[in-house]
């Protein structure tokens, strides 16, 4: 052989060697890529979980810091692992990812510092918040026996209330309210001489100051923590990774093609040389041609020679197969116009020719073509123009690669991205929906899900009797996309009948069953539900509300089997989360209503024993009510010789008689607008001018006293023994208020009250005895009998009068 032959052979082997070196490098390491992607997802998830853990610690849902510690450590490890970028990446991509990671790591480190501060400050705040109400109550209790209790206790209660309000809403107004309370307490502290009391009050100040100082710190830490812009960084990393991966993919594709073209050209060159070497020998020529043929025919890619006007000169079986023809000859015979018959868009052939005219070759020329059976495929052509020695164009020669799959993948990716964007928009829209209107919100979620995912039916199920043998799920709302309507089907499934399914919804975050009928988790429903309704694929997401399984969100497709994709699952998870929120909101609304009812009932109860205005003040949080009134009229009434009276008749009859009399008095008090204070055994106490001051309180009480005597006489007319009342009235300043914590009673105190009681006890049976103060107020309007000076126990001599009745037109006082 000539030296040239050897040269070509050596060159050929060198090229083959180069291919062998290049190809594995171009190969994409998918495992590497997936692992990196998973790390990115983990990092994002951990970051998110850290936020959640901080927030739930703050809300008191998480009682220890272990998850925070574990997750921060895990995030640090994940970031360290992310430093190893996948091998297919080029330097700029690597650099960008590293830069992003550096940013993310900076944020993580900052976050770790903030979390430490949060744990420390929140522990202190939490302690003081938990202790403060107890502390204030204890100290108030201790002060209730002291002289200055009346001053300190309301102040303490105010500070407690202000502190709790401040913790709830740390606004500047609430802060200054709390501060002013604390200053007042500080002022009082100076006045308290007693050492133990001073220490008590100082403790209140200390804890209140902790709340005042740490609350804004904790809130600021929390704000900074959860608002750290971490996810945009992970997003950017993900995007960069995606684009690098796509780039590597097309690079690999390009490299493979170049290598293939080179090796083909080399082989053709080598064999044409060999052929030329052996032209003198027909046998040798035949052998060479046979070899060339076999390569040509066994090649995996399509090889062609076409004329400029669009006919095939030569094609290999691979090409015929790919284009859907039975044989090469069939292809050559049937395609006479490549431009119109093969290319979906005939202009591609024109472009192909133009480029070959201009450059002499085309690489990676991608077009859509129509196969024999009409199906569409994507091809990539590498071709060159073959010319004779006079540069006259003879034919085009090239190879065709099937890139349909890659093109579809591109299309799929594009479509998925668009779909995800749409999903996100829908979810954001839904999230802003008012969730207090439970029915409406649920309908909105159901039909948005059905329309967005294009599924036949979406149903929300509620779990009843959780954990009991009677546990079941009941459909509470369905949207049927085929009929475009909301339905409330009566489906009701018990856990005892569907044990696998109920176990699955407890165990898994999502049950995606492309083949529902055969899926072990779903198959229990085959006969009773799936088959009758023609359901092929199901996607069930358990709904967790407040830590408990609350129901299931199910998505169903009828007809052909459907493989659920990640974005669909994500959407379902998010929609189910929204349903959970609806459940929780509905429960909260119910609880609020229940609480309101409870409050009303308590209010009613309070009203029965306390004056309305006082009850309202108590409810508003006034712990201790003590109001002084400059003038009020107090009446005491007593049944004379009640003991003797009750000895003669059975106890039930006594109670019944008392009840009759006192009920009549209650009615009178209400008629005259007076406040009944209490009954003590057979005595009855009523006041005028309290709690609502009025000018005619003396008159009103006098009228009531007169009517009381009448009513008593009327009611006891049939009694075997005469029942007589003794009534005493006095007027003057009183203190009225509520004491006690459990058994509320509105009571009166003061000298006026004591003297009124004395008027009664020193009075005359069947008469109303009043003090001079009363007499002075009523003189001229009522008639009186002067009893003169009588000896009042503990008071000495007092002039008293008996009230007889109103003055008639002409009558004057009979003093």
């Amino acid at each position: 052989m000539k030296r040239g032959t050897w040269f070509w052979l050596v060159a050929g082997f060198l090229i083959l060697g180069l291919c062998g070196y290049l190809l594995p490098r171009a190969w994409l390491n998918l495992a590497d890529h997936n692992a990196y992607q998973q790390l990115l997802r983990d990092a994002r998830q951990l970051d998110h979980e850290i936020n959640e853990a901080v927030l739930s610690a703050r809300l008191g849902l998480l009682l220890h810091y272990d998850p925070l510690v574990e997750k921060t450590a895990a995030l640090k490890r994940t970031h360290a692992a992310l430093a190893n970028t996948p091998s297919y990446m080029l330097v700029p991509g690597r650099q960008t990812l590293t830069d992003h990671l550096k940013q993310a790591e900076g944020l993580r480190a900052r976050k770790a510092v903030l979390i430490e501060q949060f744990k420390t400050d929140f522990a202190v705040l939490r302690n003081s918040l938990a202790y403060f109400p107890k502390l204030v109550t204890d100290i108030s209790h201790r002060f209730s026996t002291r002289d200055d209790g009346g001053e300190v206790i309301p102040l303490l209660n105010r500070i407690l209330e202000d502190a709790l309000v401040y913790h709830h809403t740390a606004s500047p107004e609430n802060e200054s309210r709390l501060r002013s309370g604390l200053e007042a307490l500080q002022g009082h502290l100076a006045a308290v001489g007693d050492r133990t009391d001073a220490a008590d009050l100082q403790l209140v100040l200390a804890h209140a100051n902790v709340i005042l100082q740490r609350k804004p710190i904790v809130e600021a830490l929390l704000g900074e923590l959860v608002n750290m812009p971490t996810s945009p960084i992970y997003d950017a990393m993900q995007m960069r990774l995606d684009s690098e991966y796509a780039g590597a993919q097309s690079r690999a594709q390009g490299q493979r093609l170049v290598v293939y073209v080179l090796s083909m050209l080399m082989l053709i060159g080598v064999f044409s040389l060999i052929i030329r070497q052996f032209t003198h020998s027909d046998r040798a020529l035949r052998v060479a041609e046979k070899k060339f043929r076999s390569i040509f025919e066994k090649a995996g890619e399509g090889i062609f020679q076409t004329t400029p006007d669009g006919q095939y000169l030569e094609a290999n079986p691979a090409l015929a197969r790919f284009y859907g023809y039975g044989s090469v000859s069939e292809l050559i015979q049937q395609i006479t116009d490549i431009r119109g018959q093969l290319y979906v868009d005939p202009k591609r052939r024109d472009a192909f020719r133009r480029q070959l005219e201009k450059d002499g070759h085309v690489f990676s020329f991608e077009s859509e073509i129509r196969r024999k059976d009409g199906s569409i495929a994507w091809i990539s052509e590498n071709a060159h123009a073959v010319r004779d020695s006079a540069s006259k164009l003879l034919y085009y020669e090239g190879i065709v690669a099937d890139i349909t799959q890659r093109k579809n993948a591109d299309y799929d990716r594009e479509r998925r991205n668009q779909r995800e964007l749409l999903h996100q928009r829908c979810l954001l829209g839904l999230a802003q929906f008012d969730k207090t209107d439970f029915k409406k919100a649920l309908c909105e979620i159901l039909d948005t899900t059905a329309y967005t995912l294009g599924v036949n039916r979406v149903t929300a199920w509620r779990l009843f009797d959780a954990g009991t043998p009677e546990e079941s799920i009941k459909a509470i709302g369905t949207f049927d996309l085929d009929r475009r309507e909301h339905r409330s089907d009566e489906y009701h499934f018990h856990s005892r009948d569907f044990p696998n399914y109920f176990a699955a919804i407890r165990r898994e975050t999502c049950i995606a069953a492309p083949d529902a009928v055969t899926d072990p988790r779903m198959s229990e429903f085959a006969e009773c539900y799936l088959q009758p309704l023609g359901v092929a694929s199901t996607l069930d997401v358990p709904i967790w509300a407040q830590g408990h399984l609350a129901g299931v969100f199910t998505i169903e497709r009828t007809g052909a089997r459907h493989e659920w994709e990640d974005d669909e699952v994500d959407f379902a998870l998010s929609a189910a989360n929204l349903v959970a929120v609806c459940f929780e909101t509905a429960e909260r609304v119910l609880a609020q209503k229940e609480a309101a009812r409870e409050r009303e009932r308590a209010e009613q109860l309070l009203l029965n024993i306390l004056p309305g205005t006082i009850a309202r003040r108590l409810q508003a949080g006034e712990g201790l009510i003590a109001d002084s009134f400059a003038e009020a009229t107090v009446l005491f009434a007593d049944i004379v010789n009640f003991t003797e009276l009750s000895a003669g008749i059975p106890p039930q009859a006594v109670v019944s008689l008392l009840n009759k009399i006192f009920s009549a008095f209650d009615q009178l008090a209400e008629d005259f607008g007076l406040e009944k204070i209490k009954t003590i055994g057979d005595a009855y106490m009523v006041v005028g001018g309290v709690p609502a001051p009025r000018g005619d309180h003396v008159e009103a009480v006098a009228e009531m006293a007169l009517r009381m005597l009448d009513r008593c006489a009327e009611l006891t007319r049939d009694a075997r023994v005469p029942v007589n009342m003794r009534i005493g009235i006095n007027t003057g300043p009183v203190v009225a208020g509520v004491i006690g914590i459990k058994k509320f009673i509105y009571d009166l105190w003061g000298d006026t009250v004591n003297l009124a009681s004395r008027m009664e006890s020193h009075g005359v049976s069947g008469h109303i005895q009043v003090t001079t103060a009363v007499y002075e107020r009523l003189r001229g309007k009522y008639t009186f009998v002067d009893r003169g000076l009588i000896d009042i126990k503990g008071r000495g001599q007092q002039t008293v009068f008996l009230l007889k009745g109103p003055c008639t037109e002409t009558a004057t006082t009979t003093v």
């Binding site: 994002r44 959640e52 853990a53 430490e116 420390t120 939490r126 302690n127 902790v210 997003d235 993900q238």
Partner: protein, 324 residues
């Protein structure tokens, strides 16, 4: 573009309250709503490494003058801590702080009273290089061990690269991690055995929670997972007097005024065994320690009866050491 579903979920959960998601994060089971979690009964340990680590732990060659070992200050009959308030290092020098327990370190988030080390590996250098503790360093230790008995052979049998600084640290850390005390009576109670504690101990635990101790002492190690200032509600150090540099705690590392007197909250596991207490070893008995904590950390004065109940509860945290 907004690609991730978890970021959507983040928005959703922020919008709508966190209850459903958050509770899923906690473990199911009897202890789910308690601030304290039981220790795992087993953790994965490479026992060959741990065995080598055990040998090193008690080997005085790890100190500069061959006088003390790790085991000199961490006594297994004393909850893994030292008997006295301060420990003796090389040449009888006295250390600055009370030696804490060596148990259950796998569940602590930082090491040393001031939290100087974030991992057990990082921590090892601190006592070794401390001139009043071991007064040496790992290169020196490795040199010594290379000429000591069959250490080289033993290391070669366990570690690919034989006797190296990394191998010595790995062995020590593996041994430290293996020293856990699971299944104390309180853990049994947490796991659902309601007879494991008597009424008084249960009352003590409820008191422990209601007084606010669990603000800091919570989680699997009942502490050991956060920093806190010693003297939140009162000035402990002024009251105690004689302030030393070690009392500044974390401030010595960060120079941040907020970190003055801040320490790693220690774990309360086996606390009944580890007297005296605090970084300064100033509380001789557990009731003393509880009293100081209540007053300076919680701002409360508690009765002797309450203290005795809490001590009864704390005594149920003593577990059995699982040696490798």
């Amino acid at each position: 573009m907004f690609r991730s579903s978890s970021s959507i979920r983040a928005i959703l959960s922020l919008l709508a309250g966190f209850a459903a998601l958050c509770t899923r994060a906690t473990e199911p089971g009897a202890e789910a709503n308690e601030p304290v979690r039981p220790l795992p009964q087993h953790i994965a340990i490479d026992s060959a490494k741990a065995k080598l680590g055990a040998k090193l732990f008690f080997d005085p060659q790890l100190s500069g003058d061959n006088s003390v070992s790790c085991g000199s200050c961490h006594h297994f009959d004393h909850g893994g801590a030292d008997y006295g308030a301060h420990s003796n290092g090389v040449a009888g020098k006295v250390g600055g702080v009370n030696s804490p327990s060596i148990y259950n370190l796998a569940f602590d988030f930082r090491y040393n009273w001031n939290g100087a080390a974030e991992t057990l590996h990082e921590h090892l250098d601190l006592p070794m290089r401390n001139p009043v503790v071991m007064a040496t360093d790992f290169p020196k230790i490795v040199e010594k061990l290379k000429h000591s008995g069959d250490y080289p052979q033993q290391f070669s049998a366990v570690f690919h690269d034989g006797l190296t600084e990394q191998a010595v640290k790995d062995a020590l850390v593996e041994y430290e991690r293996s020293l856990i005390t699971p299944d104390c009576r309180f853990d049994q109670w947490l796991r659902g055995d309601k007879k494991a504690l008597n009424d008084r101990e249960i009352e003590g635990y409820h008191l422990f929670k209601s007084l606010g101790c669990t603000s800091c002492h919570q989680g699997v190690n009942i502490g050991g997972n956060l920093f806190q200032k010693f003297g939140v509600m009162g000035d402990y150090f002024t009251d105690r007097g004689n302030i030393t540099k070690a009392d500044f705690g974390r401030f010595n590392l960060t120079n941040d005024e907020r970190d003055r007197f801040v320490f790693r909250v220690p774990s309360l596991r086996n606390v009944a065994m580890t007297a005296p207490y605090f970084h300064d070893g100033s509380a001789a008995t557990l009731p003393d320690a509880v009293r100081i904590m209540a007053s300076y950390q919680l701002g409360r004065s508690i009765s002797e009866e309450e203290i005795s109940r809490i001590v009864a509860f704390l005594s149920t945290l003593t577990g059995e050491l699982r040696q490798p």
